[in-house]
């Protein structure tokens, strides 16, 4: 779950990391009065997407009038496919240098990794390419943690001019915050060294681990709402993973891998998948709701149902599809391929109640569905 900057910065404050004074606003008038209060300021679009600067979503303003003009311009933008609805107006800080700091889950190291670079204010990959020596990386043993000793060690010899003790303290606080909040990523870029020698986080990216949401309910309430279509939102309510695509062949399968493989085969065989819809894991008893979801997309002209039961029983899933099919009596054709746990019972259900025969090969079921959708 992504957090917008205005929601992420208070987390840094709780960890004792300084951030600029700021106001969250939704109009040019509010931006103007915030600027009156804060003086020379920076105005930033609040969207859960990167590269806001390149998209024109960040502007400087020296006066309340300039703030209002900039706010109007940014509020008219769409960034990463989202209309900008909120702005953060922040006091402008006198910057001596810009650093980069982050803590994240690293899949290859199977560990938390703390990153620090003396080159901040740019994409960390660009910074690493520009000057590999400026970037330090510490793989943390999660059972030992990351304290001052580790921080000092990591920063050792990096740059005598950077006031290392303040940076070390910031990194330790950042790691503590990462652990307390179940973060997948916390990134401060830039972390500014001010003219008077203090460290201030000018921007903050925070991603909460989705799997930790049940034990971080208060925190999760502050995260950015995912942009979902109406059918995707309905799927979310039902506990089903539905992702809308732009094709016309509806896909219903069990398990993430098989569902992707079914979508892929639709495309590979010359068709266009209309959705990803998985009924695997614990959700396999929800097949009836899943079918309603698949049919809710008006672009769907045919449906392929591909079950291969491991954990999920194909007889239970097929029972759900057949029952829903009898109730809804859809006008579109459906093509089945069914194998694995409960296969005999599932095929029998299909024969007796829908008078249908499944295809032995999933590719044949998919070809038939593509043909029918034309």
């Amino acid at each position: 779950m992504n957090f917008e900057e205005h929601a992420a910065k208070p987390l840094l404050e709780t960890a004792g990391i300084a951030v600029p004074k700021r106001r969250l606003v939704t109009s040019a008038e509010e931006a103007s009065s915030a600027a009156k209060e804060l003086g020379a300021c920076v105005i930033k679009a609040q969207v859960p997407a990167g590269k806001r600067g390149k998209a024109g979503g960040i502007a400087m303003a020296d006066t309340p009038e300039a703030a209002a003009t900039a706010a109007d311009a940014i509020l008219a933008l769409e960034i990463g496919g989202r209309a900008v609805e909120r702005l953060l107006v922040e006091e402008r800080i006198a910057i001596a240098r810009e650093f980069y700091a982050a803590v994240l889950n690293d899949a290859s190291a199977k560990s938390p990794v703390v990153l620090f670079s003396t080159l901040g204010g740019m994409d960390i990959e660009d910074a690493a390419a520009k000057d590999p020596q400026a970037l330090r990386r510490c793989v943390v043993d999660i059972r030992e943690g990351f304290g001052h000793r580790e921080a000092e060690e990591m920063l050792g010899g990096l740059d005598p001019g950077l006031g290392a003790s303040g940076v070390a303290k910031t990194l330790v606080a950042l790691y503590r915050l990462y652990r307390d909040t179940d973060a997948e990523l916390i990134e401060i870029n830039p972390l500014a060294l001010t003219d008077d020698g203090g460290l201030v986080a000018l921007d903050c990216k925070f991603i909460l681990d989705d799997a930790a949401i049940p034990r971080q309910p208060d925190l999760a309430a502050l995260g950015a709402k995912e942009r979902l279509t109406a059918i995707e939102a309905r799927g979310r309510e039902l506990g089903l993973q539905y992702i809308e695509l732009d094709g016309n062949v509806g896909v219903l399968a069990n398990g993430a891998g098989l569902t992707m493989a079914t979508m892929d085969a639709v495309r590979h065989l010359g068709g266009r998948p209309a959705n990803f819809l998985e009924v695997g894991g614990q959700a396999y008893t929800l097949t009836q709701s899943a079918l309603e979801l698949a049919l809710a997309n008006p672009s769907v002209k045919s449906l392929v149902v591909n079950f291969c039961g491991a954990f999920a029983r194909t007889d239970v899933m097929t029972e759900g599809v057949v029952t829903a099919w009898e109730e809804l009596k859809p006008a579109i054709p459906v093509f089945f391929s069914i194998h694995g746990t409960g296969e005999e019972e599932a095929v029998e259900l299909l024969r007796t109640r829908l008078g249908m025969e499944p295809f032995d090969l999933m590719d044949d079921a998919i070809k038939a569905a593509i043909e029918a959708a034309r």
């Binding site: 889950n105 899949a107 059972r143 398990g255 979508m263 491991a310 694995g340």
Partner: protein, 290 residues
Amino acid sequence: MIVRAADRVLVQGITGTQGTFWSERMIAYGTRVVGGVNPKKAGTEHLGLPVYASAAEAANDGGFEVAVMFVPPMAARAAALDAIEAGARLLVVLTEHIPVQDVIELIAAATAAGTRVIGPNTAGLVTPGECFVGIMPAFNAKVHRPGRIGVISRSGSLGALICLNLVRAGFGQSAYIGVGGDAILGTTTHDALRAFEDDAGTDGVMMVGEIGGTAEEDAAEYAAAMKKPVIAYIAGAAAPEGRRMGHAGAIVMGDKGTYRSKRAALERAGVRVLDSPTEAGAAFTEALDP
């Protein structure tokens, strides 16, 4: 990481609905299940087996080599640490949606103690004709049959379909290793390749990957140096960027974890990448034809 009939298996969460259903099937198939864990029902019997308060208690009462977890996500860390401290050689973590920092912690503890973790979010391990640990349809002879192909998969359902297609072409499996669908895994695709390269009962390896992460790229170099043929299928060619496709690990972020990158890395390593799971049987007929 290839389970054998002699391995003694402890089922954590044996008394739950799924724990019961799959323990019955494991036992019927020949898996040597020696007991289960449920602190609330310690001292009782379930399926004719002793129920222990902890894995530590089970270790003191006869012992076990393999622990398999039918445990909800928020209880997974504690259950895993219990099994690791009790000396499990192999820990199969079926649980999906375990907080990532808990996963990191349990893998770190396992590595320090010498326990191999399979998963999380795996459908488990099958050694056809011997035993299985997890939630795969080992008992379905159309899917799992003894043979000489090693199968590695990030997905249970797709792994099952691939096995079915191999059986249809006359190939059984030496073993099935479900590495799991999470982003951070105890056993990687690379680790599993290594196990099959060293396994005398395996002639070739089927690698079933998916978008997200770098498991396939990381395994490519090793695959290129292997003596046995490796054939791959990668799911997610049609997946949109930035969306999590069911599995926590199955997400393309910008130019990272893409289908194109995985396919290119494997093909550079001389691994044939199939366009459809249906082609698996024919591909091995070709690859293993003397």
